[in-house]
């Protein structure tokens, strides 16, 4: 159980860690599946953006962090919250706008903030989390602490001036930030190639002297290995890194998006690269756990999430008299 694994990319991950990452990915997948069903039944107010397909980037990166470290997420951020340890019932309740939600029904899917676990929040503004993450790193520097902060953003944010500004400042001040682009090929409904200039995406970080690499975001071991390196580099005071994880969202931009802009062939090819299939295969091939045990893990995740759905759906709505609370302290 404790033996080291080697995958095709050469990344090696401790067996127990891989198992735990696989379990977290399963929980995210089935959490999202539950939300999808709830949304389809009309139980979710507003728009909801699911991350199914991108679990490896969520989990592989956050597995390299310690509890005290920070993350800042984006609108497709349920997986980040779960990987950082958010209680799934509270998260689900928040997405449904319930009183028992992590933010009392104020934030919904796009603004879940979990300060207790160093999560600066999912964010409704493209690129909005980037300076928040850099700020957490600035605060760590001012405190003299070696806490690290990861900021997640999508490929759409690559063309935001904020990213350019924050990479520059993180570089000149050697802030402990890891910039993680989850590149799923589409910013909302627009293909990345149509709007993103330049010969190479890592080049956008390299300009500032930031170590930058593009990796397979469907391989949790490769993601973890890149994150381990970047987090250690940041913690040692060397400054920021930039990781571009090529990945794919199995769903649309939001639940209900018909995805007419995507090519069917491409979609099928990415489906075959499902990060869960890949880690399951690695686990059983290395003899860490049996296939039956892996299947059981999946069943457990399904049951865990499905069991929550009804209770959360029937949970009480926040009382109107709480409306004005917490505008100010």
């Amino acid at each position: 159980m404790n033996k080291a694994l080697k995958n095709a990319g050469g990344a090696s991950v401790d067996g127990r860690l891989l198992l735990s990452m696989h379990r977290t990915m399963l929980r995210i997948r089935h959490f999202e599946e539950t939300i999808r069903r709830l949304a389809a039944s009309g139980a979710v107010p507003g728009l909801v953006h699911l991350c199914a397909g991108q679990e490896a980037t969520n989990v592989g990166i956050i597995a390299a962090l310690e509890d005290r470290d920070f993350i800042a997420s984006h609108h497709r951020g349920h997986g980040h919250c779960i990987a950082k340890g958010a209680p799934v019932e509270g998260l689900m309740a928040e997405i449904l706008g319930k009183a028992s939600g992590m933010c009392g029904g104020r934030s919904g899917s796009m603004h879940v903030i979990d300060m207790e676990r160093g999560n600066l929040g999912t964010n409704g503004i493209v690129g909005g989390g980037i300076p928040l993450a850099a700020g957490a790193a600035l605060a760590a520097r001012a405190r003299g602490s070696d806490d690290v902060c990861v900021c997640f953003f999508g490929d759409g944010a690559l063309n935001q001036g904020l990213l350019h500004e924050c990479m520059n400042m993180a570089a000149i001040w050697k802030l402990a930030v890891v910039f993680v682009c989850e590149n799923n090929g589409y910013g909302e409904f627009t293909a990345i190639d149509d709007v993103t200039a330049g010969p190479s995406l890592p080049g956008r970080g390299e300009v500032f002297g930031i170590p930058s690499e593009m990796i397979d975001g469907m391989d949790v071991q490769a993601v973890y290995a890149a994150a381990r390196k970047a987090v250690d580099y940041a913690r040692a005071g060397h400054g920021p890194s930039f990781i571009i994880c090529n990945t794919w969202r199995f769903g649309g931009h939001h639940v209900g998006d018909k995805q007419e802009y995507k090519d069917d062939e491409e979609t099928r090819a990415w489906r075959l690269r499902d990060p869960l299939l890949r880690s399951a295969k690695a686990l059983s091939a290395a003899g860490i756990v049996s296939e039956e045990a892996i299947a059981q893990m999946e069943q457990d995740a399904i049951s865990e999430m499905a069991a929550l759905a009804d209770g959360v759906r029937n949970g009480s709505e926040p009382a109107a008299q709480t409306l004005l609370e917490h505008v100010y302290g």
Partner: protein, 334 residues
């Protein structure tokens, strides 16, 4: 491209002299009138500005930053109306509403000067977009300083110019000083690395060398016209010691062309700048050395320019302040 002809070199120098004598007069006006607004003088940048202006054709557009006086003069604006604007007078280029920071002479393609850092670069991309739509074959020019690349909007605009193949020439005047506190805090090793990462063709030129600048900007503008794609030029400049004027003054003295042949006589705190970095003196030497003109000829030209500036000053001084009622007009176009 062919080396510029003697006539073209003289024309460039003539424009540079206009720019220099204009700014010197601005200093005198500021001394005389205790003018309270601020201005950012373009002294030391004349070779770049004149070369850009000469690369422009009728119908081209330019957007600049607040260090704009030189450009508007190089583009051929009436210096009297420019002085009047800086003094907030009725006959100013903008009728007194814009002032030093927002000079505008749309007839000459001098679109606007934005005092918001990053403003000019994005507006020029927009102008290029319109020119491309109109299919006129015209191009636009964006003038900005090295600090502009710190701004996210600059990065966004470069990306957009690259993906849409907009005909815009980005003119970056880099006057940051190595070893001093930089005006630019960019982590990039070279300014050009930013546009290069976005697949924009880049060139570097010594911005104080008028011959080099004239060739480089002409070539770059030709390239933008031919390919329809953006080009980025970084012009390196040594900052003029009076660049940030709190009190109007002549830290390097009033320009004296004859010093070009007597550089050993130059002394004082800023001797290095005068000897090595003043584009006017450098051009004077080169023109004489290459036999394009002699000192007497250049001094004659200079005397004419000085007279012109005196007249322009008188014009501006005679211009009254605008009538109060116009403060409230022109907010909206009709």
């Amino acid at each position: 491209m062919a080396k510029p002809s003697h006539a073209e070199r003289l024309e460039l120098f003539r424009r540079m002299l206009h720019m220099r004598r204009f700014e010197e007069m601005v200093i005198r006006l500021a001394q005389a009138y205790e003018y309270t607004g601020r201005q950012h003088l373009h002294i030391g940048h004349e070779a770049t500005g004149a070369a850009v202006a000469m690369a422009m054709r009728a119908g081209d557009k330019i957007h600049t930053t607040h260090r704009n006086h030189g450009y508007v003069i190089a583009c051929g604006a009436d210096p009297g109306r420019a002085f009047a604007e800086i003094m907030g007078r009725r006959d100013g280029l903008n009728g007194g509403k814009g002032g030093s920071w927002h000079l505008c002479d749309a007839e000459r393609g001098f679109q606007s000067t934005s005092a918001m850092v990053g403003g000019s670069i994005a507006l020029a991309a927009g102008a290029a977009f319109a020119l491309k739509l109109a299919g006129s074959g015209n191009i636009s020019f964006a003038h900005f300083g090295d600090g502009t690349l710190d701004e996210g909007v600059a990065y966004e605009s470069l990306n957009i110019a690259s993906i849409y193949e907009l005909p815009v020439l980005f003119v970056c005047e880099n006057n940051s000083k190595a070893g001093q506190r930089p005006s630019s805090m960019l982590a990039a090793a070279r300014l050009q690395d930013v546009p290069a990462a976005l697949q924009i063709h880049c060139e570097l030129v010594d911005g104080a060398d008028s011959d080099a600048a004239q060739i480089a900007f002409q070539k770059a503008a030709d390239r933008v016209r031919e390919t329809g794609k953006p080009v980025f030029i970084e012009a390196t400049l040594e900052r003029w010691p009076g660049s940030h004027q709190v009190k109007a003054a002549f830290p390097t003295g009033v320009t004296d062309l004859s010093l070009a042949l007597n550089l050993d006589k130059v002394e004082g705190k800023h001797a290095d700048w005068i000897k090595q970095s003043d584009p006017i003196l450098r051009a004077t030497r080169a023109l004489i050395k290459d036999g394009v003109s002699d000192l007497v000829g250049l001094l004659e030209m200079d005397a004419k320019v000085n007279l012109l500036m005196e007249d322009a000053r008188s014009f501006a001084e005679a211009s009254p302040f605008p009538d109060a009622s116009v403060a409230f007009t022109g907010v909206f176009a009709s």
